[in-house]
Symmetry: C2
DNA sequence: GTCTATAGAAAGATAGAC
DNA sequence: GTCTATCTTTCTATAGAC
């Protein structure tokens, strides 16, 4: 109560970010004007600069938050013990996490070229960290002799591309549930790295 | 000789398209101005409108040409006979074709949202035609009992996403040759659809 | 914290000279 | 076929009133 004044200071900032996320995902960063974002929020264009120093920083903050959310979520996710279990956990986590925030995912992949070189580098470090999580699993399975992967680096890139591709076609309420999609992709990923079907 | 006049009419058009392709791929359609394209070609901005009615049509023509090139190239490609041979042909064709024109591929995937609804529909029809070529192969293998695919539609999307992903990391002169990349991806694709390794 | 007003730059597209 | 010049619109960002 004490902190709730007549102003909107506690909510306008997040609403600016939410509007920018939606609009950037729909039309692309360069095609969306600050005026358009302001109109979506219901304020004047000038007011946006209370919440971000400029448009570039607004984009960068959205992408950085997304990548940090991703890494944090993977950090606390159930991981499994054996390499096949770990891979299944990664596959399911990746699909679930990405389907839950399609706009942020879209921006994180499509707007990299609209970042300044400095900001691009910072995002790439976060992305690399995530890719390494998968590569670690593939290496572990390869060493243990339960995976048959010709090249762990390529398999990492191939699997992530395959899994992220779900976002391009999945529609809520379509033919398949998220659970079923996870199931089918895990089956393909499992086979792709040469894991035999286990009992169950 | 008779057709070669002092003008550049036979070369400027293609050069405009080549410059636009390069710049759109690098910075994005919305971020590239007509003036920037003109500067790249070495003409004034106004001169571009001799070769395209507007910026939107320039983008559409680039994407349409790319998709038509893709379909035409697949039409005349070696196809194989059995489903596994056909799938191998598709995998190798897809990687080779896409690595040969990274700019056009990038645009075809990233700039869909900058098309007008009418133009978007026309491109989607071409894309669907290509996807159907792969799905036909997967269905044939499934019917013949040589593939083990839980869902041919999803497998189609998964494989295309996986294969197209090569463009995001492949660099000429890097650790692996194109031939080796084709080999590794074919191995993963083959396993993903449940084909046993054949002799060779 | 939000508004109006505006500075200053740049955009897409067109007109008319050569 | 290309140029210069320009119309008209829109953009990011800032200044200052309330």
């Amino acid at each position: 109560m004490a902190r709730k004044t007549g102003s909107h200071s506690e909510t306008t900032g997040p609403r600016v970010r939410a509007a920018a996320l939606r609009l950037f995902a729909r039309a692309g960063f360069a095609a969306v004007s600050m005026r358009r974002i302001a109109a979506e929020v219901g304020v004047q264009a000038g007011a946006l600069y209370l919440y971000t120093p400029d448009k570039q920083t607004l984009l960068f903050d959205l992408m950085k938050s997304h990548m940090e959310d991703l890494l944090r979520a993977w950090d606390v996710a159930e991981k499994g013990k054996t390499p096949p279990e770990r891979l299944e956990a990664f596959v399911r986590f990746h699909i679930r996490f990405h389907l839950e925030r399609p706009d942020a995912v879209f921006i994180a992949y499509m707007e990299l070229r609209n970042l300044t070189p400095e900001n691009f580098q910072r995002i790439e470090i976060l992305r690399k960290t995530y890719e390494d999580a998968l590569e670690d699993i593939l290496c572990a399975g390869q060493v243990a002799g339960v995976f048959s992967v010709p090249d762990t680096k390529l398999a990492t890139m191939a699997l992530i591309a395959m899994l992220t591709g779900v976002n391009t076609w999945f529609r809520e309420g379509g033919r398949l549930s998220r659970e079923k999609v996870e199931e089918i992709y895990w089956d393909m990923a499992r086979k792709a790295v040469g894991v035999e079907q286990s009992g169950g």
